[in-house]
């Protein structure tokens, strides 16, 4: 058994090529091992000190978030909050301050849980994952990356180094809303992200909605194209809710029945679109939406 602390990305990739598994915050890997889910890998390479993975970079054409950026950074980083607000919403809801201080975006994505909070926001923002080995770099669409609960199409030796999203017009907004039974230390029962771009007349130019924890992987709601040109009103929100509920294939478990999840995913989708549209119009909805409005809002 070995534990290596990588001091450069090349070091880390070399260790992965030799069969080591990466560890950043360890909030899934270590907790899972303690719970007896999977034993810790024989060889670990720590990537949490790699500054090159911990950067958020914005250009005219894209925003690039390093895989090592922590949830605590995501929820306050000005570029993330401005350009990818739904990711900030999601990061702010992850676990507890302790989890957010060490857990990373790359870890959340590569753990592949259908209940991951940052997954649906990344999908609606059109993100792709950058995967690197010692010798190659490739870009993978998220719907190709996530192949099942806890499963990804990443090959041994590949490291997720960044999530990259195209730049969006100023009239865009995004939001992530989650059903919560309590206000911290919570895990997604269902959640929904939405991104909205509005035309100059206030009608919808584009709309994407993705759902958390209602399918084996993060599920993007399809067939929303016909809503382009609509205004964001009760009728549109009801239609989004109905489609989200209809496309979800939730399970019954200790957290909720499938009947309840099906209904709630519609409520979450509706609220996500509502908040995203407000942000697209330039109205302030603080991060996270769950603390800005509704039952979970601050008193």
């Amino acid at each position: 058994m070995s534990f290596t602390i990588a001091t450069s990305l090349d070091d880390a990739l070399a260790a992965l090529a030799d069969g080591a598994r990466p560890i950043a915050g360890g909030t899934d890997l270590v907790v899972g091992a303690r719970q007896g889910k999977d034993p810790l890998p024989q060889n670990l390479v720590a990537i949490d000190r790699l500054g090159e993975l911990a950067r958020v970079e914005v250009t005219d054409s894209e925003i690039r978030i390093g895989a090592g950026v922590t949830h605590a950074q995501l929820m306050v980083d000005a570029s993330v909050v401005d350009h990818c607000t739904a990711i900030a919403d999601a990061a702010a809801l992850v676990g507890s301050p302790a989890t957010r201080n060490v857990g990373t975006l790359g870890g959340n994505v590569m753990n592949g849980s259908p209940a991951m909070d940052t997954g649906a926001p990344l999908v609606v923002l059109g993100a792709t994952a950058e995967l690197r080995t010692a010798s190659a770099t490739r870009t993978v669409a998220l719907d190709e990356l996530w192949t099942g609960p806890g499963q990804t199409s990443a090959q041994p030796g590949e490291l997720c180094t960044a999530l990259v999203m195209p730049a969006r017009p100023a009239t865009s907004g995004s939001a992530y809303v989650r059903l919560e039974y309590r206000r911290t230390m919570e895990i997604a029962v269902v959640g929904a992200a939405a991104s909205v771009t509005l035309a100059s007349d206030g009608a919808i130019e584009s709309l994407r909605v993705a759902l958390t924890a209602v399918a084996p992987t993060i599920l993007e709601v399809t067939g929303l194209d016909d809503l382009s040109g609509s205004t964001v009103d009760d009728g549109l929100l009801a239609s989004v809710a109905e489609r989200a509920s209809g496309q979800a294939t939730p399970i019954t478990d200790l957290r909720a029945s499938d009947r309840y999840r099906s209904k709630m995913i519609g409520v979450m989708a509706r609220r996500a679109v509502e908040a995203a549209a407000m942000r697209a119009r330039g109205e302030a909805v603080a991060v996270p939406v769950n603390r800005a409005t509704g039952v979970g809002a601050a008193e």
């Binding site: 059903l179 039974y181 911290t184 895990i187 909720a256 309840y260 209904k263």
Partner: protein, 781 residues
């Protein structure tokens, strides 16, 4: 005690630094799991893992054969003793039959926890599965399988009716409730179902045992060191003189660490291994194994009223889930009956309450056993009554609650009580009747809880430098009341509390006492400490009288000095008197809490008397909660809780406020998110903190507390009563009534989870809605 230490009810809480506070906050304090002894081994248990089965083979030889394993013991290796309170229905280790998944088959001691676990897993356990009993109503059928084949084969204390799967049956009968219903204007029937829940102390329990010669010292995370010691003595057949129980700092208990748990298992294991042995529970074990968890209940209640809302009769049938063994639950049926009756004037009562054996984890005393569920049902029902006669819930209660001099539902006449004041203070504080957003409402809950007179002793000694020690059987499980013992003694002797050290949580040095159970620390240990301190005060007055050439009766002890009444200049330092005593007759005191009789009843007959039909020095309380409900999702959030408590005189306001805040939080958890779920195989489905959701500090409401400090006959020191359990009792009730006020109907399942609230909003089948109907038979609407 100076006036300053008993401020008028106020939210300005003066600071009182707990003696154990800095240790706990800085991490320098040591808990049982921190203990390491030379040569110490690790213990692991092999659990049944099946809810009901006949053992056909238990072969421990594969475990014994593993190198590094020092001992493996089973029922064959300890005396064949059946024990428990009331019904001696269990043994340390399962023999012949296992009755719940967490039953211990064997214990292993090995060099490391991992090795011990490997050995425990290597034990061969074969069994024939038996039909499980999981449903409280089905358990009563003649055709039901039995959890225990023949209860009368056990030693049973008292004459409580029992038989089949019924462990105990208690009733309250006053007047003729059936006849009163027939002639009543309005009758309302309701069904409420409460899930089981857990105490969930943050410290999972731990036990360390070490033998020296024929004596054993057991370090253990118990709330009740003498119960733990007595359990070891009883099951291992040892005299009390050979068993010493020491409790290091305790990381919470909430009743879950009352009683006797694994002290004897580990003592026996340590003896067999010839080495000290340490057991530390995992969170899973903490959920599944101990015979202390809060009981599930089914409550059917029917109340008959006059058209003006005057209650004329209450009838109820209550089923309480006992689980597989009685633990300390024999009084639960009667306690539940009292809480479903509630603190109301009810001239005709018929309540039947049964404690039912099932193949679930055994129920036991968790913070006010049966009361939060009983109060929740009774108080949600009360709001249904108010609605049925068109009265405001507060006004309805004003018309029906017990006041000083009234006769309660079991026939007890109450002396000076403060329920009425609690109702007015809490509701006024909450702004009852104010305008709120349409997704918010206020809900009210009232309730009661008794004090218990139990034997307790204390010693006290004063050193030559004027500092002093109290030696008490009290136990600190976070209530802070053992800290208050120093204030009581200081007040008698006239010195500063900080000059008094507390020696506690050690059965070898302290006199017997009930420990931290039943809100009794102050009520019983406090009276004993007062007695011991008074003896020292008497000695100091005699010394001072000699010194000052005055009459001992005229000596006043205060501010570190003994002075002559009316002539404060004629004084001597208490430390000087202590120095004099140190070279002569030493300053030693002892005290006993006198046993208090229960109040007598009139006009009622009660089956299955278990000491709960009348309440000694009862505590009364009212909580009003402001709750916001998301109608689309059913998520409810408690925003404010306004509490008012009649717990008599409040001696230590900071500790008292802490109790209220902790009790409210535990109550909010029980109201909204904390519920144990069982599979068809009777095993727990959510024995982990991910799926059994506690409330967090982020969920905490603002809590506003007022104390009704009135004179209470037969109360504890300086007119005080208990407070540790009371604030847990009415919280779920007040939250439930607020939710009902928002959504227009009660949620009939506890916890009132988001999904259950949503089901109620949507008018979907709530479980048990077949008896959901509220029947109005005339009268005002």
């Amino acid at each position: 005690m100076t006036e300053a230490m008993v401020p008028a009810p106020s939210e300005d809480v003066p600071a009182f630094v707990r003696a154990d506070g800095p240790d706990k906050v800085t991490g320098s304090g040591r808990y049982t799991a921190d203990i390491t002894l030379t040569g110490m081994l690790a213990a692991k248990f092999r659990y049944a893992g099946v809810s009901h089965a006949r053992i056909t083979r238990l072969d421990v030889e594969p475990a014994r054969a593993i190198p590094g394993v020092f001992a493996v013991i089973t029922a064959d290796d300890v005396p064949d003793v059946e024990f428990s309170y009331g019904i001696a229905d269990r043994r340390l280790f399962a023999k012949d039959v296992v009755r719940f998944e967490g039953e211990v088959l064997a214990a292993v001691a090995a060099l490391t926890p991992e090795l011990a676990q490997q050995a425990a897993d290597a034990i061969i356990f074969e069994y024939d599965e038996l039909q499980v009993v999981t449903d409280l109503e089905a358990a009563l059928a003649d055709s039901s399988p039995l959890v225990h084949d023949d209860l009368d084969a056990y030693t049973i204390t008292g004459d409580t009716p029992h038989g089949g799967n019924v462990a105990t049956h208690s009733s309250i009968t006053v007047g003729d409730a059936g006849a009163a219903r027939e002639s009543a204007d309005v009758v309302v029937s309701s069904r409420y179902v409460a899930d089981a829940s857990h105490a969930v102390p943050i410290e999972p329990r731990a036990v360390v045992a070490q033998w020296e010669g024929d004596k054993v010292t057991v370090y253990t995370s118990t709330q009740v060191p003498f119960d733990a010691r007595n359990g070891v003595c009883e099951t291992l057949e040892l005299p009390a003189s050979r068993v010493r129980v020491i409790v290091p700092h305790l990381g919470g208990g909430f009743g879950g660490k009352c009683g006797f748990h694994y002290e004897a298992h580990i003592a026996a294991l340590s003896r067999a291994a010839g080495r000290p042995v340490k057991l530390v529970f995992s969170r899973w074990e903490e959920f599944v194994a101990p015979d202390r968890r809060r009981e599930g209940m089914i409550i059917d209640v029917t109340t008959s009223m006059a058209a003006d809302g005057t209650i004329v009769a209450r009838e109820a049938d209550i089923l309480v889930d006992n689980g597989a063994y009685i633990a300390d639950a024999s009084f639960f049926a009667q306690a539940a009956a009292m809480h479903v009756a509630g603190p109301y004037r009810i001239p005709n009562v018929r309540i039947d309450s049964k404690l039912i054996y099932t193949n679930h984890q055994p129920s036991g005393s968790v913070r006010a056993p049966t009361a939060p569920q009983g109060c929740w049902a009774s108080e949600l029902h009360t709001d249904e009554l108010a609605a049925a006669v068109g009265l405001d819930p507060l006004e309805f209660r004003r018309r029906n609650i017990v006041r000083t001099g009234d006769v309660g539902p079991s026939g007890q006449t109450y002396e000076e009580i403060g329920l009425e004041q609690c109702l007015e203070l809490a509701s006024t504080s909450a702004g009852w009747g104010r305008d709120l957003p349409d997704d918010e409402a206020l809900g009210v809950g009232i309730g009661w809880w008794p004090s218990f007179g139990a034997p307790a002793g204390a010693y006290m000694k004063m050193h030559g430098d004027g500092s002093a020690q109290i030696i008490t059987g009290a136990n600190e499980c976070g209530t802070g009341s053992v800290m208050t013992l120093r204030m009581l003694a200081a007040d008698e002797i006239g010195i500063d509390p900080s000059a008094i050290e507390l020696i506690y949580q050690d059965t070898a040095v302290a006199p017997v006492g009930p420990g931290a159970s039943g809100s009794q620390t102050l009520f019983n240990h406090g009276r004993a400490v007062e007695g011991a301190a008074r003896q020292i005060a008497d000695q100091l007055r005699d010394l001072a009288a000699d010194h000052l050439e005055a009459n001992a009766d005229d000596i006043v002890l205060a501010d570190g000095k003994a002075s002559v009444a009316g002539s404060p200049a004629i004084a001597v330092d208490i430390s000087e008197l202590a120095a004099t005593a140190a070279s002569g007759e030493l300053l030693l005191g002892k005290g006993n809490a006198e046993i208090r009789d229960w109040p007598t009843l009139s006009g009622s007959s009660c089956l299955g008397e278990q000491g709960f039909s009348s309440f000694l020095a009862p505590q009364f309380f009212c909580h009003v909660s402001r709750v916001r409900v998301d109608r689309d999702t059913g998520v409810a959030r408690v925003l404010e809780v306004h509490t008012a408590h009649d717990s008599g005189t409040i001696l230590n306001p900071m500790a008292a406020h802490g109790q209220i805040e902790g009790g409210v939080m535990m109550g909010v958890g029980q109201a909204l998110t904390e519920g144990t779920r069982h599979g068809d195989d009777a095993r727990q489905l959510n024995p982990a903190l991910l799926e059994y959701k506690l409330q967090t500090i982020a969920d905490a409401p603002s809590i506003h507390t007022q104390f009704v400090e009135i004179f209470t006959p037969n109360a504890g020191p300086k007119g005080s009563k208990g407070l540790a359990e009371a604030p847990n009792v009415p919280t779920a009730a007040s939250v439930g009534n607020a939710i009902a006020a928002v959504i227009g109907k009660p949620v009939r399942r506890l916890p009132m989870t988001a999904e259950r609230v949503w089901e109620a909003v949507e008018g979907l089948d709530q479980p048990d809605s077949s008896t959901d109907a509220t029947t109005y038979t005339g009268g005002a609407q």
